[in-house]
Amino acid sequence: MMEKSKVLRAEAVCIIYTMISEYTFDDSIIPNKEENTMAKADPKLLEMAEVFRIPKEAKLKYIILPAVLPGVSKMLSERDALKREKSRSVAQGGETK
Protein backbone atom coordinates (compact mmCIF):
# COMPACT_ATOMS: atom_id res chain seq x y z
CA MET A 1 0.00 0.00 0.00
CA MET A 2 1.14 3.52 -0.83
CA GLU A 3 2.78 5.81 1.70
CA LYS A 4 0.47 8.47 3.01
CA SER A 5 2.72 11.27 1.72
CA LYS A 6 2.57 9.95 -1.84
CA VAL A 7 -1.21 9.69 -1.69
CA LEU A 8 -1.48 13.27 -0.46
CA ARG A 9 0.85 14.42 -3.21
CA ALA A 10 -1.29 12.67 -5.83
CA GLU A 11 -4.37 14.35 -4.48
CA ALA A 12 -2.67 17.73 -4.73
CA VAL A 13 -1.71 17.02 -8.36
CA CYS A 14 -5.28 16.12 -9.15
CA ILE A 15 -6.67 19.26 -7.52
CA ILE A 16 -4.16 21.45 -9.40
CA TYR A 17 -5.01 19.67 -12.68
CA THR A 18 -8.71 20.22 -12.09
CA MET A 19 -8.16 23.90 -11.29
CA ILE A 20 -6.06 24.37 -14.42
CA SER A 21 -8.71 22.58 -16.50
CA GLU A 22 -11.43 24.87 -15.18
CA TYR A 23 -9.30 27.98 -15.74
CA THR A 24 -8.35 26.99 -19.27
CA PHE A 25 -11.86 26.04 -20.31
CA ASP A 26 -11.65 28.95 -22.73
CA ASP A 27 -10.88 27.27 -26.06
CA SER A 28 -8.62 30.14 -27.11
CA ILE A 29 -6.05 28.94 -24.59
CA ILE A 30 -6.32 25.21 -25.23
CA PRO A 31 -8.42 24.68 -28.40
CA ASN A 32 -10.86 21.78 -28.32
CA LYS A 33 -9.69 20.86 -24.84
CA GLU A 34 -12.80 18.88 -23.96
CA GLU A 35 -12.80 16.96 -27.24
CA ASN A 36 -9.12 16.15 -26.97
CA THR A 37 -9.56 14.85 -23.43
CA MET A 38 -12.60 12.77 -24.34
CA ALA A 39 -10.79 11.36 -27.38
CA LYS A 40 -8.36 9.57 -25.06
CA ALA A 41 -11.11 7.85 -23.10
CA ASP A 42 -12.43 4.44 -24.15
CA PRO A 43 -15.40 5.15 -26.50
CA LYS A 44 -17.18 1.99 -25.36
CA LEU A 45 -17.01 3.12 -21.75
CA LEU A 46 -18.22 6.59 -22.74
CA GLU A 47 -21.15 4.95 -24.50
CA MET A 48 -21.86 2.87 -21.40
CA ALA A 49 -21.81 6.09 -19.35
CA GLU A 50 -24.31 7.68 -21.75
CA VAL A 51 -26.66 4.68 -21.57
CA PHE A 52 -26.54 4.49 -17.79
CA ARG A 53 -26.71 8.28 -17.47
CA ILE A 54 -23.67 8.15 -15.19
CA PRO A 55 -23.16 11.40 -13.20
CA LYS A 56 -20.44 13.74 -14.54
CA GLU A 57 -18.24 13.37 -11.47
CA ALA A 58 -18.27 9.58 -11.77
CA LYS A 59 -17.52 9.77 -15.48
CA LEU A 60 -14.53 11.98 -14.76
CA LYS A 61 -13.22 9.80 -11.95
CA TYR A 62 -13.76 6.34 -13.44
CA ILE A 63 -13.47 6.80 -17.20
CA ILE A 64 -11.74 10.02 -18.20
CA LEU A 65 -9.09 10.44 -15.49
CA PRO A 66 -7.77 6.85 -15.83
CA ALA A 67 -7.36 7.46 -19.56
CA VAL A 68 -5.81 10.91 -19.33
CA LEU A 69 -3.80 10.64 -16.11
CA PRO A 70 -3.57 6.91 -15.30
CA GLY A 71 -0.88 7.35 -12.65
CA VAL A 72 -2.90 9.94 -10.71
CA SER A 73 -6.04 7.85 -11.05
CA LYS A 74 -4.23 4.82 -9.61
CA MET A 75 -2.97 6.87 -6.66
CA LEU A 76 -6.47 8.20 -5.96
CA SER A 77 -7.84 4.63 -6.06
CA GLU A 78 -5.27 3.59 -3.49
CA ARG A 79 -6.21 6.58 -1.35
CA ASP A 80 -9.86 5.49 -1.50
CA ALA A 81 -8.87 1.94 -0.59
CA LEU A 82 -6.89 3.28 2.41
CA LYS A 83 -9.92 5.31 3.52
CA ARG A 84 -12.17 2.26 3.28
CA GLU A 85 -9.79 0.12 5.27
CA LYS A 86 -9.56 2.82 7.92
CA SER A 87 -13.34 3.17 8.26
CA ARG A 88 -13.71 -0.64 8.36
CA SER A 89 -11.20 -0.92 11.21
CA VAL A 90 -12.80 2.01 13.04
CA ALA A 91 -16.20 0.32 12.67
CA GLN A 92 -14.71 -2.87 14.11
CA GLY A 93 -13.27 -0.83 17.00
CA GLY A 94 -9.70 -1.56 15.95
CA GLU A 95 -8.47 2.02 15.67
CA THR A 96 -9.38 5.10 17.66
CA LYS A 97 -7.37 7.71 15.67
Binding site: K44, L45, E47, M48, E50, V51, F52, R53, I54, P55, A58, K61, Y62, I63, P66, P70, S73, K74, S77, A81
Partner: protein, 193 residues
Amino acid sequence: MTLQLLNLSKSVSGKEILKDINWEISQEDCFLLEGPAGSGKTLLIRLMLGLEKPDSGSVNLLGDYKYSSVNAGVVFQEDRLCEQFSAVENVAMVNKRLSERVAGDELLKFLPKERIWIPVSELSEVERRLVAIVRASIIPSDILLLDEPLRGMDSDLRKKAVDYIRDRAGHKGIVFAQRDDQGLESLRRFVIG
Protein backbone atom coordinates in the same frame (compact mmCIF):
# COMPACT_ATOMS: atom_id res chain seq x y z
CA MET B 1 -43.93 2.44 -20.73
CA THR B 2 -44.00 0.38 -23.93
CA LEU B 3 -41.03 0.21 -26.28
CA GLN B 4 -42.35 -0.06 -29.83
CA LEU B 5 -40.31 -0.95 -32.91
CA LEU B 6 -42.21 -0.07 -36.09
CA ASN B 7 -41.13 -1.34 -39.52
CA LEU B 8 -37.50 -1.08 -38.47
CA SER B 9 -34.82 -1.70 -41.08
CA LYS B 10 -31.07 -1.24 -40.86
CA SER B 11 -28.15 -2.04 -43.10
CA VAL B 12 -24.51 -2.15 -42.12
CA SER B 13 -21.75 -1.65 -44.71
CA GLY B 14 -24.30 -2.02 -47.48
CA LYS B 15 -25.66 -5.32 -46.15
CA GLU B 16 -29.26 -5.45 -44.95
CA ILE B 17 -29.19 -6.88 -41.43
CA LEU B 18 -32.65 -5.99 -40.12
CA LYS B 19 -35.74 -5.74 -42.32
CA ASP B 20 -39.21 -4.57 -41.28
CA ILE B 21 -38.93 -5.46 -37.61
CA ASN B 22 -42.16 -4.90 -35.67
CA TRP B 23 -42.14 -5.53 -31.94
CA GLU B 24 -43.61 -4.17 -28.72
CA ILE B 25 -42.12 -4.70 -25.28
CA SER B 26 -44.32 -3.66 -22.37
CA GLN B 27 -44.07 -3.90 -18.60
CA GLU B 28 -44.13 -7.52 -17.37
CA ASP B 29 -42.96 -8.82 -20.78
CA CYS B 30 -39.98 -11.13 -20.75
CA PHE B 31 -38.58 -12.08 -24.13
CA LEU B 32 -35.80 -14.20 -25.51
CA LEU B 33 -34.42 -12.39 -28.56
CA GLU B 34 -33.16 -15.32 -30.53
CA GLY B 35 -31.05 -15.54 -33.64
CA PRO B 36 -27.75 -16.89 -34.91
CA ALA B 37 -24.51 -14.93 -34.80
CA GLY B 38 -24.67 -11.97 -37.17
CA SER B 39 -28.46 -11.89 -37.29
CA GLY B 40 -28.60 -8.42 -35.74
CA LYS B 41 -29.46 -8.99 -32.08
CA THR B 42 -26.86 -6.52 -30.83
CA LEU B 43 -27.79 -4.06 -33.58
CA LEU B 44 -31.44 -4.26 -32.58
CA ILE B 45 -30.58 -3.52 -28.96
CA ARG B 46 -28.46 -0.55 -30.06
CA LEU B 47 -31.41 0.76 -32.06
CA MET B 48 -33.68 0.39 -29.02
CA LEU B 49 -31.19 2.38 -26.94
CA GLY B 50 -30.96 5.13 -29.53
CA LEU B 51 -27.24 4.45 -30.11
CA GLU B 52 -27.92 3.85 -33.80
CA LYS B 53 -30.48 5.39 -36.14
CA PRO B 54 -32.60 3.08 -38.32
CA ASP B 55 -32.54 3.41 -42.10
CA SER B 56 -36.32 3.30 -42.03
CA GLY B 57 -39.01 2.78 -39.44
CA SER B 58 -38.98 4.07 -35.91
CA VAL B 59 -38.38 3.28 -32.24
CA ASN B 60 -41.15 4.76 -30.12
CA LEU B 61 -41.65 5.11 -26.39
CA LEU B 62 -45.38 4.80 -25.77
CA GLY B 63 -47.08 6.03 -22.66
CA ASP B 64 -46.40 9.06 -20.54
CA TYR B 65 -42.60 8.92 -20.69
CA LYS B 66 -40.38 11.75 -19.54
CA TYR B 67 -37.13 10.74 -21.31
CA SER B 68 -36.31 11.18 -25.00
CA SER B 69 -34.52 7.82 -25.03
CA VAL B 70 -35.32 4.70 -23.08
CA ASN B 71 -33.94 4.50 -19.54
CA ALA B 72 -32.55 0.98 -19.60
CA GLY B 73 -30.44 -1.30 -17.49
CA VAL B 74 -28.08 -2.87 -19.99
CA VAL B 75 -25.67 -5.76 -20.16
CA PHE B 76 -23.54 -5.10 -23.23
CA GLN B 77 -22.07 -7.84 -25.36
CA GLU B 78 -18.62 -6.76 -24.10
CA ASP B 79 -18.49 -6.25 -20.33
CA ARG B 80 -17.71 -2.52 -20.52
CA LEU B 81 -16.37 -2.41 -16.99
CA CYS B 82 -13.81 0.10 -15.71
CA GLU B 83 -10.84 -2.23 -15.47
CA GLN B 84 -8.76 -0.78 -12.67
CA PHE B 85 -11.73 -0.43 -10.33
CA SER B 86 -13.40 -3.07 -8.20
CA ALA B 87 -16.72 -4.80 -8.81
CA VAL B 88 -18.27 -2.70 -6.03
CA GLU B 89 -17.07 0.55 -7.60
CA ASN B 90 -18.22 -0.51 -11.06
CA VAL B 91 -21.72 -1.18 -9.76
CA ALA B 92 -21.98 1.82 -7.43
CA MET B 93 -20.68 4.37 -9.95
CA VAL B 94 -23.73 4.25 -12.21
CA ASN B 95 -26.13 5.91 -9.79
CA LYS B 96 -25.53 8.69 -7.23
CA ARG B 97 -28.03 7.16 -4.84
CA LEU B 98 -26.47 3.70 -4.96
CA SER B 99 -24.09 3.19 -2.07
CA GLU B 100 -21.06 0.91 -2.13
CA ARG B 101 -22.62 -1.00 0.76
CA VAL B 102 -25.74 -1.84 -1.26
CA ALA B 103 -23.66 -2.66 -4.33
CA GLY B 104 -21.48 -4.92 -2.21
CA ASP B 105 -24.46 -6.73 -0.71
CA GLU B 106 -25.84 -7.49 -4.18
CA LEU B 107 -22.50 -8.68 -5.51
CA LEU B 108 -22.07 -11.01 -2.52
CA LYS B 109 -25.04 -12.98 -3.85
CA PHE B 110 -22.72 -14.18 -6.62
CA LEU B 111 -19.12 -13.50 -5.68
CA PRO B 112 -17.08 -14.24 -2.54
CA LYS B 113 -16.10 -11.27 -0.40
CA GLU B 114 -12.45 -11.34 -1.40
CA ARG B 115 -13.38 -10.95 -5.09
CA ILE B 116 -15.63 -7.90 -4.95
CA TRP B 117 -12.89 -5.43 -3.96
CA ILE B 118 -10.12 -6.41 -6.39
CA PRO B 119 -9.86 -4.73 -9.82
CA VAL B 120 -12.30 -6.31 -12.25
CA SER B 121 -9.37 -6.89 -14.61
CA GLU B 122 -8.41 -9.74 -12.25
CA LEU B 123 -11.82 -11.42 -12.35
CA SER B 124 -12.70 -14.35 -14.60
CA GLU B 125 -14.94 -13.89 -17.66
CA VAL B 126 -17.96 -15.30 -15.84
CA GLU B 127 -17.34 -13.17 -12.74
CA ARG B 128 -17.16 -10.07 -14.93
CA ARG B 129 -20.42 -11.06 -16.56
CA LEU B 130 -22.03 -11.35 -13.14
CA VAL B 131 -20.80 -7.86 -12.22
CA ALA B 132 -22.38 -6.52 -15.41
CA ILE B 133 -25.64 -8.29 -14.58
CA VAL B 134 -25.78 -6.82 -11.06
CA ARG B 135 -24.93 -3.36 -12.41
CA ALA B 136 -27.79 -3.53 -14.91
CA SER B 137 -30.29 -5.04 -12.51
CA ILE B 138 -30.12 -2.82 -9.45
CA ILE B 139 -30.30 0.66 -10.94
CA PRO B 140 -33.67 2.36 -11.43
CA SER B 141 -34.70 1.77 -15.03
CA ASP B 142 -37.75 1.07 -17.18
CA ILE B 143 -36.54 -1.96 -19.13
CA LEU B 144 -33.68 -4.45 -19.04
CA LEU B 145 -31.82 -5.15 -22.29
CA LEU B 146 -29.32 -7.96 -21.83
CA ASP B 147 -26.95 -8.95 -24.64
CA GLU B 148 -25.50 -12.44 -24.08
CA PRO B 149 -25.60 -12.02 -20.29
CA LEU B 150 -25.19 -15.73 -19.56
CA ARG B 151 -22.12 -16.32 -21.71
CA GLY B 152 -19.75 -18.89 -20.20
CA MET B 153 -22.08 -19.92 -17.35
CA ASP B 154 -23.00 -23.49 -16.47
CA SER B 155 -26.66 -24.46 -16.12
CA ASP B 156 -26.84 -23.94 -12.35
CA LEU B 157 -25.34 -20.47 -12.53
CA ARG B 158 -27.55 -19.62 -15.50
CA LYS B 159 -30.64 -20.45 -13.48
CA LYS B 160 -29.39 -18.44 -10.53
CA ALA B 161 -28.59 -15.44 -12.74
CA VAL B 162 -31.92 -15.57 -14.58
CA ASP B 163 -33.84 -15.85 -11.30
CA TYR B 164 -31.89 -12.87 -9.91
CA ILE B 165 -32.55 -10.75 -12.99
CA ARG B 166 -36.27 -11.52 -13.01
CA ASP B 167 -36.59 -10.96 -9.30
CA ARG B 168 -34.79 -7.59 -9.39
CA ALA B 169 -36.69 -6.51 -12.53
CA GLY B 170 -40.07 -6.56 -10.82
CA HIS B 171 -42.58 -5.28 -13.36
CA LYS B 172 -40.03 -4.11 -15.93
CA GLY B 173 -39.91 -5.54 -19.41
CA ILE B 174 -36.85 -7.73 -20.02
CA VAL B 175 -35.13 -8.79 -23.22
CA PHE B 176 -32.50 -11.55 -23.13
CA ALA B 177 -30.54 -11.66 -26.38
CA GLN B 178 -28.89 -15.07 -26.51
CA ARG B 179 -27.74 -17.41 -29.22
CA ASP B 180 -28.90 -20.44 -27.23
CA ASP B 181 -31.96 -20.79 -25.03
CA GLN B 182 -30.50 -22.86 -22.19
CA GLY B 183 -32.09 -21.59 -18.98
CA LEU B 184 -34.50 -19.42 -20.97
CA GLU B 185 -36.75 -22.09 -22.45
CA SER B 186 -39.90 -20.78 -20.78
CA LEU B 187 -39.58 -17.27 -22.23
CA ARG B 188 -41.60 -15.91 -25.14
CA ARG B 189 -39.40 -15.79 -28.20
CA PHE B 190 -38.76 -13.08 -30.74
CA VAL B 191 -36.73 -14.57 -33.54
CA ILE B 192 -34.66 -12.64 -36.07
CA GLY B 193 -32.39 -13.75 -38.88
